[in-house]
Symmetry: C2
Subunit: 446 residues, 2 copies
């Protein structure tokens, strides 16, 4: 049994480890086109900001450690072709091109940062942030830089804004839409995020379309927009990602409507023997039962694990997601799970949302910090559809997991209200803010 | 409709408010034997320690505010008798004794701190902590005090130890059992709690039985134990509580095996027209389906709410509890929900526990703090039975709520592992520690 894995980051390395553990007799080989495997890409902005000391700290397992477990790892090897009939892949590496056979193939090629046409340039100082070398290039670019323009205000853009400000840089953010944060949370909450950015000196400009770059002496000097020129010596393009599906297409594997790989719960593609896992895959949203493409770290690791077990002859299934997302922006923790009001309306659901503003712990106890909770439920069914939190004590935002847990089982709002959540004055009000919100929502749903 | 409420703290005032809101035409009268209503008793230790500024801060609603809502509040009125046939209570107040009629009666008399025989003394400096005047008396007693002996190491004792240390007092704790913390968490975790106490200078002595007090010039001067004399100028007795069920007995209402009031899910006692709610009641543990007496703030408030709605003609039910508890002791947050290994074994369940030590967020991100999680599951059913957390970043301990949510629905360990919990480096590892523990437990249960 020869298991070949294409891509050695989250899903790929999880799969390789699991496959080898499940069937120690299997030969497991990982081809990674880059120089790093098994790293926490979500930590990239924090190396730039200093909360993570070094790029190497992001690496969970080195190639040597993987080889010590009997897993072959070939860095700087890109899989460029695939013959699903012959069960071979074409691999291009430092010492040439070769053909490698497989019994089971995992395509864990992730996503690439989108580079609009205007961002395709030879000028220095224009970056995306997706992989460790991207981060290293940004770090080099920032030496002597003064003014950074971040184009896009999704997770990466928002996290970058905080981390670059912490380095003393002047940061301007450009957003095409009316408000920062895309569809991460509802617009009322996105306004709070913008206020937090602005309170920390970020120059946020919404409703701005980028048209091009200006270059001086080989380095970017500004961003041309429909509302004028924005001067910057460094530009980071964070306008989204696109699944890397070229190999899947070459294999004749089906893609979903989202553009990402269509896989079943076992992470099998439509082509026998070929699996896909990670950011390049779509999955089922447990709240809507629709296919979604939400490339995030836990999902990728879990998909890889499932694929690894199945490739090695086991039987594991991926349970889907509930759309949980979380991030930090300066002094705020922001999280969402399930559907927001806008998400629900787009899907035509009869949704109601309530907003509660409270404190993370008993208001009479020192240090109580504001916490905003929005819960969304469905009329008729009484189901919880989702929740959004913004917490001035960032750590409190993990309370979103209670909602994620309840959504996982398609729970009702009235059951959320009945839960025996923990109370002591340093940690909560008697009625935890989630219970307060659930109470208000259950009444709004009646 | 005349609704009479005996006891004006958590359950009583919740019931009164709910009843009046549900039926604005009802006459609602609250008799409170003390001088305060509607206060957060759980905050008492923190006034002594300074995290809460003043006793009055604990008061959520004043009598005037309640009267403004049309609710009669009579302070310093103790209900001393009850005629269930005539539907009257005997009330003793500052201006004498009178008989008051009721249509619906709520007995929300709470619990009293247990005072062993040796603690019944006229000597100054010997206290319990249950109500605001107890706290005020301790505060007065501590003026000029140097060495405090806390007898008992349950929630109150542990919280007091931290708060009195913060005031610069020398604190010694005496515990009859082998380890601090009674059955709050399993013994391995209780050892960690003791280590935290000792690291902050608390003199913890376990396996010690108190036999008496020594008194000098009218004030306590020491605690006599089976292992010698412990000198102290202030003694706080925190050995547990006992439900106040005298009125229920007088009414002929049934008590449960726990010694607390037996009520149905509507908070009705066995006597028509008489309800009970709050710390004096037992309830159903949703994990074991047994009756338990776990007097805690949220439970009391929720029971009061249910009783209030029902007394006013509505139909509400109390869902039971899953045994969630949480507290802070110096730099640790400690929480439990459901059953620990010891709890499960006492009940004869075929339980397995796993322990995971991790960090509250990505280890490579600055400030990652240790977090210990113990999960307990049931062989055969695969059900989650409970979880315990000790967190060096105290705020992280609210993650116990994810487990409480899952226990509420009698969820399985394998479903816990499948949950889409939030991940970003400042908040979690890719695999949240609860997922890591669930994975380990699901394998241990196979």
């Amino acid at each position: 049994m020869r298991i070949v894995v294409v891509g050695g980051v989250a899903a790929g390395m999880s799969a390789a480890s699991r496959a080898k553990r499940f069937d120690p007799g299997a030969e497991v080989v990982v081809f990674e086109r880059g120089e790093y495997i098994s790293y926490g890409a979500c930590g990239l902005p924090y190396v730039l900001g200093g909360a993570v000391d070094d790029w190497d700290d992001l690496v969970a397992r080195t190639p040597e450690q993987m080889r010590g477990r009997g897993i072959g790892v070939r860095l700087r090897h890109e899989v460029t072709g695939l013959d699903a009939q012959a069960r071979t892949v074409t691999v291009s590496g430092p010492s040439g091109v070769c053909t490698e056979p497989y019994d089971r193939l995992l395509i864990a090629t992730g996503v690439s940062a989108i580079r609009p046409d205007w961002a395709r340039t030879d000028a220095a100082g224009v970056h995306v942030l997706r992989e460790i070398p991207d981060g290293q290039a940004i770090a080099r670019s920032l030496e002597g830089a003064r003014r950074v323009c971040i184009v896009g205000t999704g997770y990466i853009g928002l996290e970058l804004a905080e981390n670059l400000c912490r380095q003393g840089l002047s940061v301007v953010m450009l957003e095409r839409g009316d408000e920062v944060g895309g569809n991460i949370v509802d617009v009322e909450y996105r306004r709070r995020i913008r206020a937090e950015l602005e309170a920390h000196g970020v120059d946020v400009r919404c409703g701005v379309t980028v048209e091009g770059l200006t270059v001086r002496e080989g380095r970017v000097s500004g961003v041309q927009t429909d509302t004028g020129l924005v001067r910057a010596d460094t530009v980071i393009v964070a306008v989204g990602v696109r699944p890397n599906v070229e190999l899947l297409k070459a294999a004749g594997a089906r893609l979903g409507k989202t553009g990402a790989a269509a896989v079943n719960v076992r992470q099998e593609t439509s082509v026998p023997g070929i699996y896909a896992a990670g950011d390049n895959c779509e999955t089922v949203h447990r709240v809507t039962r629709r296919k979604v493409h939400i490339p995030l770290g836990l999902t990728a690791n879990r998909m890889g694990r499932v694929a690894g077990v199945n490739m090695a002859g086991g039987d594991a299934t991926f349970p889907g997601v509930v759309g949980t997302g979380i991030f930090k922006v300066f002094g705020l923790g922001v999280a969402r799970t399930g559907l927001g009001q806008a998400d629900a309306e787009r899907l035509g659901l009869d949704a109601v949302s309530v907003d509660v503003e409270s404190t993370d712990h008993a208001s009479y106890y020192a240090g109580a910090a504001p916490i905003h909770v929005r819960l969304t439920g469905e009329r008729g069914s009484g189901r919880l559809l989702g929740g959004q939190l913004i917490c001035s004590n960032p750590q409190s935002v993990k309370r979103v997991d209670v909602l994620a847990a309840h959504l996982h089982g398609r729970g009702k709002v009235e059951d959320l209200f009945q839960m025996d959540l923990a109370y002591a004055p340093p940690f909560s009000g008697v009625w935890d803010v989630l219970l307060v919100a659930a109470d208000r929502l259950q009444r709004a749903l009646r």
